[in-house]
Structures are given as structure tokens and as C-alpha cells.
């Protein structure tokens, strides 16, 4: 049996082997099943709470519940699973056996990231399916109840926009996975990586405040700090674009495209730093 010459090329197939194993581990975790069940229950409960919709339309209320579930549960899953699956390999010393094989550390880091990212993407995919189903069921019953008020052919919900929105969320969570991957490459406990992940998620949600503050303050030091923070940390608020989808408004494809590029650039940047950090780590 031959394994080739002495030179070892960087291999996408080895990366994908690690990714598929990570995915298999993630979906066999009780946490994944629990989170999925919980998120679907939360979405289903929007039917029960639709009387408390604070004046907004029923469909928008259901959509907001679904979008919130995707963001909150998706982010929680991304943080926990990334930290557990990457640091778990180091803590349980399984990484030693793996890295004693002809595997580059960058392949290991990227494989772990891809495995978790695909897991979270599947989770968002399932929630999207449930959300679309819930909205379609409610829309159908509204059409039956109010046949004269709704014009023939008029769609109350922009379903295509929901799919684009979900795709954008996959990339938003990709950034978060890349960040937690980075923390995991130098952390000594998964708790630390998870706490850092939560903090960064909060800061990322409020990052636009720092950017705005950078434009207002006159102190050069503060201005520099705000600007650096504005570039170094992702602005997760940019991905909150689902506002009008349940009222039939479309999501511009150009905006989705920009969000995808934004997500890819930040993820690649954090993964490059994570690889550099992990290359220095002694196991």
C-alpha cells in the first residue's frame, strides 16, 4: 500500500474527512437534538401566543419568532458545539492521535470549523423549513377566513426572501463559529471559549454602536479604539434584515450578496488567525 512520496501536500479531502467526522459527532450529540426540538417547540408556541402580538400582524409575529429562534438557538449551538468539539479533542487528547497522522494543523482547524458550520447550517435549514410551513399554514387559514379582503395571487409572505434570510444567517453564524474556533485554539478550557463566544456575540450585536461612537467622539485615542473595534469585530446587526419579509416585502439579492461576502471575509480572517495560533500550540 502506498501513501505517495515524501512531500505532503495540503489536502482538501483530508479536511473534508475531518469535517464529516465532526459533523457526525455533532449530530450524534444529545445537545443538537435537544436544541432542534426546543427551537421547533418555540416556533410552534408562536401559534399559542399569537393573541399577544402587540399589534403587529399574526404572520409577522410567527416570522419574528422563527427568526429569533434561528439567531438565538443557532448562535448558542454554534458557540457550544464549536468549543466542545474543538477543545474536546485537545482536552480528551484525541487530537494527539489525529495530529500524529500526516495532517496539517490548518486542515484540522478548517475541518473542525466546516463540520460545526455545516451542523449549524442544517439546524437553520430545519428551522427555516418549519417556519415556512408554519407561515404557509397560517396564511392558508387567513385566506380561507378572509377570501374577499385578500386579492387573488397576492402573497402575504415573501417565502423566497425567507430562504435568502436564512442563508444570510448561516453566514452570520459562520463568523461566530470562526471566532469561537479562534478562542478554542489557545483556550485551556471549553468554558473559557464559550464565555468568550457569548461576549463576542453580545459585542457583535452592539458593534454598530461603537462604529457610530467612532464618528462622534473627538478624542483621537478613543476614536482609534472605536475604529479598530469596528473593523476587528463583526457587526452582527447587519444580518437583521428580516423585518418586512412577513409583510410580503422582498429581500434585495444584492444585500444578501454583500452579507455573504462580509461573512466569508470575516470567517476567513478569524480562521487564518486561529490556524496561526494553533500552529504555535503544544499538545
Amino acid at each position: 500500500m502506498s501513501v505517495g512520496g515524501d512531500k505532503l501536500n495540503w489536502s482538501l479531502s483530508r479536511t473534508l474527512v475531518i469535517a464529516s467526522n465532526t459533523f457526525r459527532e455533532a449530530v450524534r450529540m444529545k445537545l443538537f437534538l435537544g436544541m432542534t426540538g426546543l427551537a421547533i417547540c418555540a416556533l410552534a408556541s408562536s401559534f399559542l401566543f399569537r393573541e399577544f402580538n402587540f399589534g403587529s400582524s399574526e404572520l409577522k409575529f410567527i416570522a419574528d419568532f422563527g427568526f429569533g429562534g434561528m439567531t438565538v438557538f443557532g448562535s448558542a449551538l454554534a458557540i457550544i458545539v464549536t468549543a466542545q468539539l474543538l477543545l474536546g479533542e485537545i482536552e480528551h487528547r484525541t487530537a494527539m492521535t489525529l495530529l500524529a497522522k500526516p495532517v496539517y494543523r490548518s486542515e484540522f482547524v478548517l475541518g473542525k470549523f466546516l463540520g460545526v458550520w455545516v451542523t449549524v447550517a442544517c439546524f437553520i435549514g430545519m428551522l427555516t423549513l418549519c417556519l415556512v410551513l408554519a407561515l404557509w399554514m397560517r396564511e392558508s387559514s387567513i385566506r380561507l377566513d378572509y377570501p374577499e379582503e385578500i386579492e387573488q395571487g397576492q402573497s402575504l409572505v415573501h417565502y423566497g426572501g425567507i430562504l435568502w434570510f436564512s442563508l444570510a444567517q448561516v453566514f452570520r453564524i459562520g463568523i461566530l463559529c470562526a471566532l469561537v474556533t479562534l478562542f478554542s485554539t489557545y483556550a485551556t478550557s471549553s468554558i473559557f471559549a464559550m464565555v468568550m463566544g457569548v461576549l463576542v456575540w453580545i459585542v457583535g450585536q452592539l458593534q454598530h454602536v461603537a462604529t457610530e461612537a467612532g464618528g462622534v467622539v473627538e478624542n483621537l485615542v478613543l476614536k482609534t479604539i472605536y475604529s479598530v473595534m469596528g473593523y476587528a469585530l463583526p457587526n452582527f446587526h447587519l444580518f437583521d434584515v428580516g423585518e418586512g419579509l412577513a409583510m410580503g416585502e422582498a429581500l434585495p439579492i444584492s444585500l444578501v450578496g454583500k452579507l455573504l461576502i462580509y461573512g466569508v471575509l470575516y470567517s476567513v480572517f478569524y480562521l487564518a488567525v486561529a490556524t496561526a495560533s494553533f500552529n504555535r500550540r503544544e499538545l
Binding site: M1, S2, V3, G4, D6, K7, L8, S13, R14, V17, I18, N21, R24, E25, R28, H92, R93, T94, M96, T97, L98, L99, A100, K101, P102, V103, Y104, E282, L283
Partner: protein, 281 residues
């Protein structure tokens, strides 16, 4: 041809957390392990054996000196193309079955898809796990973990095996089986670096051995030369009659030497009982 492992003037210092002091785990170690030999690395706990192995595998960077594996720097990933490593107290992905684990490591080792299935099946038989191959690794006993660990080390058909305590937690039958596999591997012309506390096993398997104490190389040489005692000789006589023994005792008294009845080791006794039907010969 280069040595299988060449360690040249290697030292490793670890920073002590919360202090500026450093702990020297390995101190100016020089070691050459020839290809095709079984080399035993011995030493008490904390003597620097595992750190030496990790440096050889490129998992830890030496503070000073250099390590070469089969002619390549151990820090290059390509050096690990021809290594099979079994870690001490092996811990594997618990959610995988034994078979899935071997497939996983086989793919990472670059084994061709067409060869992988046959290779995995033959390895499961070779390490005695053919009936447990479809069980999850999480349910394996310590001995089974060592066996599957040995199989994953062999899956890429490496030239060099680095085995850290391969018989730890394994019963004497398992230990004897693992020793037999190591002998087979040597007969195939491969090199084995073996770390073990079971000195009797090392003595019977290894061609050469080194003893490390407090990070330094205390002794190195062929097992024969290290264990040879030059100031006495011994003879073993089987089936000696009572009269023969009497004559020998007289002779011993005249020539001032000791005559004793050899004892069987508990390991020999255990193996005889366990491999037979419980009856002793």
C-alpha cells in the same frame, strides 16, 4: 540511509504557570534509533519519555536541538506520513465504532479507498477485535482500547511505530498478543520505538534500550549488553533425577556454587492457565 529517529542535542523547557522559572523536561538528549530495530525507551514517571516522543512526533517543539524522523525534520507534517503512533492511555472518538475509527484514520493516513476495507478487516482480525468492530469505542475496555489503538497505528502501513505504553491496562494474554504483533512488525523490517514500564516485556522484545532519568539519558545500549552480568554464569537442567541432583549438590559444595530450583513466573503460570483449559501441566 538515515536513522529511523535521530535526536540531536534536544532540550525542552516548559514554563511554569505563574512563575518566571522554567522546568527542563528533557536535557541535551542524543539518541539514534536504527531502522528495523525495536528500541525500548525506559525511565521512571517524569523522566521525559513522553515529552521526547511528542517532540519526535512534532507535537511539541524542542527548545534546543533537532529531531529527525526517517530523514525529515519532525516539525514537518510530511515526517508523519510513515509513522504509526499509539498514545499512552489511548482516548479515541467514543461515538465511532471500532471499524469507523479505523476507516477515519485510514483516510487521514492516505490509504487508497480501494484498499481501505480489506485493510480495516484484516487489522480487526489481527488485533483480535473482529467481533467488536461494530461496537462503539465508548464501550470498549482498556485492553480493547489498546488493541484498537494498535490497529489505528498500523492502518497506514507505516515504517516506524511509536508505541507509548502499549500494554498498559492489558491482561497478560493481551500483552503477549501485542508483544507478538510487535515481533511480527520487526520481522517485516519496520522500526518500533517502545515506551513501557513492563521491563520484563521490554527485555524480551527490544533489541536496544535507553534509560532516561530526570530528562537525561542515563544508559543506552543493546538489551543483551545492558542485562549481561559478567561475574557469574548459570545453567538450567531439566528432568534431573534425584540421584543426579545429589551428585550435583556434592559437586556444588566442592566448587562453592549455589544450586537452586528455578521458579516459574506468575505471568507464565497465568498464560498457561488462561490459554489452556484451566489445567496446569
Amino acid at each position: 540511509m538515515s536513522a529511523a529517529i535521530s535526536i540531536q542535542g534536544v532540550s525542552k523547557d516548559f514554563r511554569i504557570p505563574g512563575s518566571k522559572r522554567r522546568l527542563r523536561a528533557v536535557d541535551n538528549l542524543n539518541l539514534e534509533i536504527e531502522r528495523g530495530s525495536v528500541f525500548g525507551l525506559l525511565g521512571p514517571n517524569g523522566s521525559g519519555k513522553s515529552t521526547t516522543i511528542k517532540m519526535a512526533l512534532g507535537l511539541v517543539r524542542p527548545s534546543k536541538g533537532k529531531c529527525e524522523i526517517l530523514g525529515n525534520s519532525s516539525l514537518e507534517s510530511s515526517a508523519r506520513k510513515r509513522i504509526g503512533y499509539l498514545p499512552e492511555a489511548p482516548c479515541f472518538q467514543r461515538f465511532l465504532t471500532g471499524r469507523e475509527l479505523l476507516f477515519y484514520f485510514g483516510k487521514l493516513s492516505g490509504v487508497k479507498k480501494t484498499d481501505l476495507e480489506d485493510r480495516v478487516n484484516s487489522l480487526l482480525v489481527r488485533v483480535g477485535l473482529e467481533d467488536a468492530g461494530d461496537r462503539r469505542v465508548g464501550g470498549y475496555s482498556k485492553g480493547m482500547l489498546q488493541r484498537i489503538g494498535l490497529a489505528q497505528a498500523m492502518v497506514g502501513d507505516p515504517e516506524l511505530f511509536i508505541l507509548d505504553e502499549p500494554t498498559a491496562g492489558v491482561d497478560p494474554i493481551g500483552a503477549a498478543d501485542i508483544a507478538a504483533i510487535i515481533r511480527e512488525v520487526r520481522e517485516e523490517g519496520k522500526t518500533v520505538l517502545l515506551c513501557s514500564h513492563l521491563l520484563s516485556k521490554v527485555e524480551t522484545i527490544c533489541d536496544r534500550a535507553a534509560i532516561m532519568v530526570k530528562g537525561k539519558l542515563a544508559l543506552e545500549g543493546s538489551v543483551e549488553s545492558l542485562t549481561a552480568a559478567t561475574d557469574f554464569s548459570s545453567a538450567r537442567i531439566e528432568g534431573l533425577s534425584a540421584e543426579g541432583r545429589k551428585q550435583l549438590e556434592t559437586f556444588a559444595a566442592e566448587w562453592h556454587f549455589d544450586l537452586s530450583t528455578p521458579r516459574r513466573s506468575l505471568e507464565e503460570l497465568f498464560l498457561e492457565l488462561a490459554k489452556g483449559d484451566g489445567d496446569l501441566e
